[in-house]
Amino acid sequence: MPSTIVTLTLNGTERELIARPSTTLLNALRETFGLMGAKRGCAQGGCGSCTVLLDGRPAVSCLIPVVTVGGSTVDTIEGLADGDRLTDVQQAFVDHFATQCGFCTPGMIMSATALLDRNPDPTRQDVTEAICGNVCRCTGYEPIITAVLSAAERRRDAPQSPATAGL
């Protein structure tokens, strides 16, 4: 089967790529578009390091043949910050030392962002469930959970600046 042209709305901009049947969304992001935020960890959907937002929902991009999601909206970690201005979730990760080696961080932040966009007032349990597919081998998760709860609190105090503003 020949390669096909796929159109995506990627971080707010319509983009096209030529994809083979075997090209995953993750490969397209990294190799075609040069977006290195999403990481290839297990390539089994088990570690969450490749998590992006597909039509607003967190999704493991390693398991998606990109030709099947033509016409979809894809948001990656690169689309969050406005220049040097971090989103509330990103800033909370910095403030609470929620990243160490950083490999899980893009996926973790996309899962957290998806949670807060749907549930602005999450419990600790909600946060744990939201990031249960994102493996972190450094932090022990506690700083991450604290950061997400803190971002939610900050967002409730300043509802005019949602994490995905500008997407």
């Binding site: 049947p21 969450g48 999704a59 099947t68 597919g133």
Partner: protein, 265 residues
């Protein structure tokens, strides 16, 4: 190696696409993981993503879910609250946003917890074959599989009366883990006696198990710890061992989890 992916825009076109030996691709959460391992040979797929098979319809007590409805769609639907515990026990949000209802019916154990729940609810499948559309009991497909070239287009069942559906899953971690023992049951209790019961076990064996022996013990008996302990002895279960648990461990803890599922303690 994935050599082709068709993306048909109707169920009939998807079925036609399967005639060349291609496999249906739901969310890809099982199939694509295998492909990424590079352990599979040349493979052709027919994606169901754009075949118009996504959606949940509830009319009275009848629930119909399109084959490509995602587990996240189920999770979001307040009308299906009785399935929430089951769905949230499966994988993680970034996987549930892809994984589909029909896909879950065909993943190997110890996955397929939704299939266990749907089997307990005595679901029927809408199947599209060469002779057209027909309905098949899920139980028949679980036992005998689906002929190559046929396509599940939907799943339908009668919503359980409030309080009659039980789902309990034991796993290595509280979230995002394959099953050690899954118990799904539809059970009614009248005047302290079990009036009707349909009991399905996941995680234990190579396939989902309809625990008919346990059902016979429970039927008409008082729903007590003693009855449930006898029910747990009533079926010949040959547990499997894997990375989640040994066969010995599964056999050892099955009665405990049957009790927790049916009695809550």
């Amino acid at each position: 190696m994935l050599i082709s992916v068709e993306i048909p825009e109707s169920a009939e076109a998807a079925r036609a696409g399967l005639q060349s030996g291609a496999l249906p691709l739901g969310g890809g959460t099982h199939l694509m993981a295998r492909l990424n391992d590079e352990a599979a040979g040349d493979l052709r797929l027919v994606s169901l993503r754009k075949a118009g098979l996504r959606g949940i319809h509830v009319e009275g007590a009848t629930v119909v879910m399109g084959a490509a409805t995602t587990l996240a769609d189920l999770e979001d639907d307040a009308r299906l609250g009785y399935l929430s515990r089951c769905v949230r026990s499966i994988a993680s949000p970034p996987v549930r946003s892809l994984a589909t209802v029909a896909g879950n019916l065909f993943v190997p154990q110890p996955y397929g917890d939704l299939a266990a729940a749907l089997l307990a609810l005595d679901a029927e499948l809408d199947v599209l074959g060469a002779g057209g559309a027909r309905r098949e009991p899920l139980e028949r497909i679980v036992t005998g599989g689906l002929p190559a070239g046929e396509l599940v287009t939907g799943v339908r069942f009668t919503a359980p009366a409030p309080g009659t559906f039980r789902f309990h899953k034991a796993s290595r971690r509280r979230l995002n883990s394959g099953s050690i023992v899954t118990v799904a049951a539809r059970i009614t209790v009248e005047d302290g006696l079990v009036g009707d019961v349909r009991l399905v076990l996941g995680g234990l064996g190579r396939r989902l198990i309809r625990a008919t022996g346990a059902e016979r013990v429970l039927l008409g008996a008082p729903l007590t710890a003693e009855t449930v302990a006898r029910a747990a002895e009533a079926d010949v279960i040959e547990p499997v061992g894997d990375a989640y648990a040994s066969a010995w461990y599964r056999a050892r803890v099955y009665p405990v989890h049957l009790r927790r599922a049916l009695l809550g303690a």
